[in-house]
């Protein structure tokens, strides 16, 4: 009887630690598990006792890749608790800073972490010789995103100038103007990436699930809106706990979630499926070129959805810069008056919907914190995808099965350090 044993201890090219275990005998699966053994981080415990002015600084450290995301969710939670309504100027700058994060994170995943699988190499490093133009292009796009973030917040990783109530320092308009030109030039780089993706063979697999993302009637939502689901009516962000329903599983330090079905998906494909109509015309055109339409139920297409979103992000960031240049910027003096109460901040991280929920005392000190990270919400869906995928591919070689499993996990662009509160595949 044929035995299939896949045991990937610490799946690579993802952020953090995750394991894949598959045992099958004679076409029958005995064991199939996605494990998350990353060390627990305890950020919720670390935030307790901290002053509001330090809270987003600490929360940013949940992730080195999406630190702007965590900072923004954190600031918004604190502002909600204190009853602060950010100014229009602040919202424009925050959205632009957010676009920098999405651009950088998506390029990193699309070209450095996912593309090597399609090009038959084990990392981006050999591509520096075989596809030097692609690597240089990816680094150029990343640099652009970094420079945009630096202009707005002094630094991309763990941004500094964005604070509760607004911005502690305003960007130089002339630098923004120069960045606008570089952003407009970046379409050519993305077009090359689209050309490359058209040559990739994306695995043919589908499993319909529940898709959850922020939705804002005004725009393709990244930092505002309510919680939309493919299976249920849109609900207020204040009811997020009724959507996430976290639970613990012994083989994982990350908590799992479920809503209307046994699992749900968050991230670029969930956003694409739920909010396709609000994408920019250029992004919609690219979607058509890449052969993806909403709804799409193939998790391997998450990376493609990210590429479509990257066009939207470029369009959006250019439009935001135009608005900022037109209205100019003025010092607003961020007066913050703490008050006791609870505040919830919700944003779409590059990897999906992210919740920060804080309770403050009247001195502005946190007494309770809860963070629900996108990758946590995807863990359960990854498991269910594997359970649907593996029976379809059991006749393939162990190496092929292993690669398909790893590629599935990588497609989710998991950020495990964030969620542990990881990735590794073991065929046994």
């Amino acid at each position: 009887m044929t035995r299939v044993n896949v045991n990937v201890h610490h799946v690579t090219r993802i952020e953090g630690h995750g394991n894949l275990v598959l045992n099958a005998k004679g076409g029958k699966i005995e064991e199939l598990r996605w494990e998350v053994p990353e060390s627990p981080r305890f950020f919720e415990a670390m935030l307790v006792g901290r002053h509001y002015d330090d809270v987003h600084h600490i929360a940013s450290r949940i992730c080195g890749i999406c630190s702007i995301t965590h900072t923004t969710a954190s600031i918004q939670a604190t502002e909600a608790a204190f009853g602060i309504q950010p100014s229009e100027q602040t919202i424009l700058l925050r959205k632009l800073l957010y676009d920098a994060e999405l651009l950088e994170s998506h390029v990193l995943h699309i070209l450095f972490l996912a593309a090597p699988d399609f090009l038959g190499v084990d990392s981006v490093i050999p591509l520096a010789e075989t596809h030097k133009d692609v690597v240089v292009m990816a680094l150029r796009l990343k640099k652009l995103a970094y420079n945009l973030a630096e202009t707005l917040a002094e630094r991309k990783t763990h941004p500094l100038s964005c604070v509760v109530g607004g911005f502690a320092k305003l960007p130089d308009l002339n630098v923004l103007k120069a960045l606008r030109k570089r952003l407009a030039d970046a379409y050519a780089d993305l077009d090359v990436t689209v050309g490359l993706f058209k040559t990739f063979k994306i695995p043919d697999f589908a499993r319909e699930t529940e898709y959850i993302a922020l939705r804002d009637p005004k725009e393709y939502a990244f930092i505002s809106g309510q919680i939309a689901s493919s299976d249920a009516p849109t609900v207020s962000i204040n009811d997020y706990l009724n959507v996430t329903n976290e639970f613990c599983v012994p083989h994982s330090t990350a908590k799992y979630t479920r809503n209307k079905r046994d699992a749900y998906m968050v991230g670029a494909l969930a956003r694409f499926n739920l909010n396709f109509k609000q994408l920019s015309p250029r992004a919609k055109k690219i979607a058509k070129e890449l052969g993806i339409s909403a709804p799409n139920h193939n998790p391997y297409m998450i990376t493609v959805a990210q590429l479509v979103e990257t066009y939207h992000v470029l369009d959006d960031s250019i439009s935001l810069i135009d608005q900022i240049l037109e209205r100019g910027l003025k010092g607003e003096g961020n007066k913050v008056k703490p008050r006791a109460g609870r505040g919830i901040g919700v944003v779409e991280a590059p990897r999906g919907i992210l919740f920060h929920d804080y309770v403050y005392d009247d001195r502005g000190i946190i007494t309770k914190a809860n963070c629900i990270i996108p990758t946590n919400q995807n863990h359960n869906n990854i498991q269910k995808d594997l359970e649907a995928l593996v029976p379809e591919i059991l006749d393939k070689s162990e190496d092929e099965i292993r690669l398909m499993m790893e590629m599935l996990v990588r497609a989710y662009d998991p950020c495990i350090s964030c969620s542990t509160h990881s990735l590794n595949v073991t065929f046994t």
Partner: protein, 229 residues
């Protein structure tokens, strides 16, 4: 991954000079023999100690990378709770499934040869250390306080603005980026070799601030430091 924020030329130059043999976040294949190991993160579980000891045995040079590895960093904030409290707070009824120990820098567990400080580590400082190691030289890291660099950067003193700052006792090398960005120093590079705590207290008195205010700021990165203990 912050190190991947190199320009095209910097990255391609680096790849020409070194062979990266194990980088799980970016590369699939791994190797067991290496000259230099860069270790990120602090130690928070018993099982991490033997893993780290093994890295020490296999590597000729161990470099701590980032505030968590160098000084314990924000992870040590949980040390102000008992580990049971921390587990209960985050995992509730399921706390029994998990284990955690007091967070600590890697130097608490193994001998560390060099430190690339900062949260996040600074790309140029990382490259400077890599180049020095490749040339067989000892990397030079400043031992004077952030204030020196802050003045050069032309910033208005944070104390003058009525806020607390850890610049007077924090090791320089960051060009006071946090103050330049409109904020204050949080001490993420750790303390200078001989921190003048009395002088920090004098500054606080002068500006009507309390020791408690500064201790709360100190905790964020330097809970593990001797000054705090």
């Amino acid at each position: 991954m912050e190190v991947l924020n190199l320009t095209g030329e910097e990255m391609l130059d680096l790849l020409g000079a070194v062979e990266i043999v194990n980088f799980r976040e970016a590369i699939t294949n791994r190797a067991d023999n290496y000259d230099i190991a860069f270790v990120e993160g602090s130690i928070t579980r018993e099982s991490e100690i033997p893993r780290l000891q093994q890295i020490r045995e296999q590597a000729k040079i161990v470099v701590a990378l980032g505030s968590c590895a160098c000084i314990g960093g924000v992870n040590c904030l949980k040390n102000h709770l008992t580990m049971n409290q921390a587990l209960q707070m985050v995992y509730g009824d399921s706390a029994k499934y998990y284990d955690t120990i007091l967070a600590r820098p890697i130097s608490a567990v193994i001998r560390v040869d060099y430190y690339v400080r900062n949260c996040p580590p600074i790309t140029s400082e990382f490259l400077k250390v890599v180049k020095a190691l490749l040339l067989g030289r000892k990397p030079e890291i400043p031992s004077y306080p952030v204030c020196t660099e802050c003045k050069v950067a032309g910033n208005i003193c944070v104390f003058e603005l009525g806020k607390t700052c850890l610049g007077p006792v924090t090791r320089a090398g960051c060009k006071a980026i946090c103050v330049t960005g409109g904020r204050h120093c949080w001490g993420c590079r750790g303390l200078v070799d001989e921190p003048n705590i009395n002088s920090e207290e004098e500054i606080l008195k002068k500006y009507g601030l309390t020791v408690e205010q500064v201790v709360e700021k100190f905790k964020i990165y330097n809970t593990y430091s001797e000054v705090m203990r």
